[in-house]
Amino acid sequence: MTRAADPVPRAPDSLPPAPDRRATPLLQVRDLVVERADRRILTVDDLSIHAGETLAIVGPNGAGKSTLLLVLAGLLRPTRGSILVEGIPLARGRELAYRRRIGLVLPAPLLLSTSVFGNVAAGLRFRGVGAAEIRERVDLWLDRLSIAHLRDRPASQLSSGEAQRTSLARALVLEPQVLLLDEPFVSLDSATRAQLLDDFERLHVGPSTTRVLVTHHLHEAVRLGDRLAVLLDGRIRQCDATDRVMASPVDAEVAAVVSAEARVRGRVVASEDGLLVVDTGAGSRQDVGVRARRLLASTHDAGASALDTGAAAFDDDGPEGVDPAGGA
């Protein structure tokens, strides 16, 4: 296949246009290698991040997502290769100036042992912003993240949802050129996560900030990402517009990542008008990968255990979503 020469495979050009590739990318990673204890944990031949876009990086645990984010943050010096900021390589000794253009949110809130206000103000204080402006900006972002009432509370007394909101406010108050988010919702229960994701999407409207989101929750990536990069075993296997990656994964492993949330064992018994009926009863042992919009489960035999008998019907978005080639 001709595609084999392309380090980052792209799907056919039938879907919405990708960001303008003629403009100099805001961030570019070239020929990057990160080794730890002589083991290669990350290899990125070429990755560009354009101003104003949201790039979501998905992949299983240990794929190198967080490592890539730390390199992008200028906090981890790669073994080989470099990152280019607006086309200029990030030189040794220039990291601090670059780090003051970014905002970083880590999976754990890691709040400082001071008040919520003190935490959110920390980055502005590092930048030498005046006290009056700090007060104004911090209060604005506390309000936007619905934690204004916690302003003077010690960070140690917050719930995990409140702590993560504080952590997000702490990065957003910097109004950074690049916002780097490493699993920002991972420490939360699902209800809190859904609420914060809603709020975050609402704040997401401003076009000026470029975002890189690392997550292993595909739905977060799909919701927030303009482009999707699939990272497996330290390599970017596919990077393209989110719709394109979802519609046309380059191989079975990428397909497994982008359809992981609706992968069932069963037998396709009917498929018509986008409705797919899968029998998950005993005896049918075939993997069916589907991206279901709506999942209905029903049990035919009320007396039998729902675990080992019954049928599931999927309201699928097309027969090409079915992957009957999976393991038998």
Partner: protein, 221 residues
């Protein structure tokens, strides 16, 4: 003046010298131990474990050994004999610094080592310079760092062996509370020794009280 205790003015003098020697030694130990401890806590290098072992051994250094080493250096024929420091408060401060610096160093390493290693990354990700990062890490580890100051002060105010060896317990010059207690006890003047002991305990309590207050105020973790 305490009635019936003829040497009250001596007591004040001895107490003040104890405070001065211990205070100076603690301050100098902090200036030495805090930067080196911070560097050891935040840097990874090949012989780090060996260096940490040496520091931790230093924390358990017998004061008489520290006194012996300092005495050898300051003795008239020693390397630093020309300074004429032997049997002066200066010599005592040097010996106490040798004793207290590893304590500050070791507890700084332990205190910073207890922090979440990702905190360093997070601070830098918020745009902190190297100094701003270190200042915030000290702030986060302040409970342990102040415990280090208390341990250092506690070890030097109560120390007797080295103070005796390099100070000489000379009345009006190098006599401190601990060496006085040894002297009074040796003479069988137990009443005097007990008063001196109570003064020593009171000082230790007051200094640690202030440090504990500083340690515990402000938002808790």
């Amino acid at each position: 003046m305490i009635p019936g205790v003829p040497w009250t003015s001596d007591l004040v003098e001895v107490t003040l010298l104890s405070l001065a020697v211990s205070g100076a030694a603690t301050a100098i130990s902090l200036l030495i131990g805090l930067p080196i401890g911070t560097w050891l806590a935040l840097t990874r290098f090949r012989s780090r474990h060996l260096v940490l072992s040496v520091v931790n051994t230093g924390m358990a250094l017998p004061p008489v050994v520290a006194g012996l080493v300092v005495a050898l250096l300051l003795w008239r024929s020693g390397v630093l004999g020309g300074l004429g420091l032997m049997y002066t408060p200066g010599a005592m401060v040097i010996a106490e610094v040798v004793i207290a610096s590893p304590v500050v160093m070791g507890l700084t390493v332990a205190g910073l080592g207890q922090l979440d290693p990702r905190l360093h990354t997070q601070l830098q990700g918020l745009g902190a310079s190297r100094w701003q990062t270190v200042l915030w890490l000290w702030r986060e580890a302040r409970l342990a760092l102040l415990a280090g100051v208390m341990a250092a002060f506690g070890s030097v105010i109560s120390e007797v062996g080295a103070a005796m060896m390099v100070g000489g317990n000379i009345a009006g010059q190098t006599r401190v509370l601990t060496t006085s207690i040894v002297l009074q006890t040796g003479r069988g003047e137990f009443g005097n020794a007990i008063i001196l002991g109570l003064v020593l305990l009171t000082i230790a309590f007051m200094v640690n009280g202030v440090l504990t207050w500083a340690q515990q105020r402000g938002p808790r973790r």
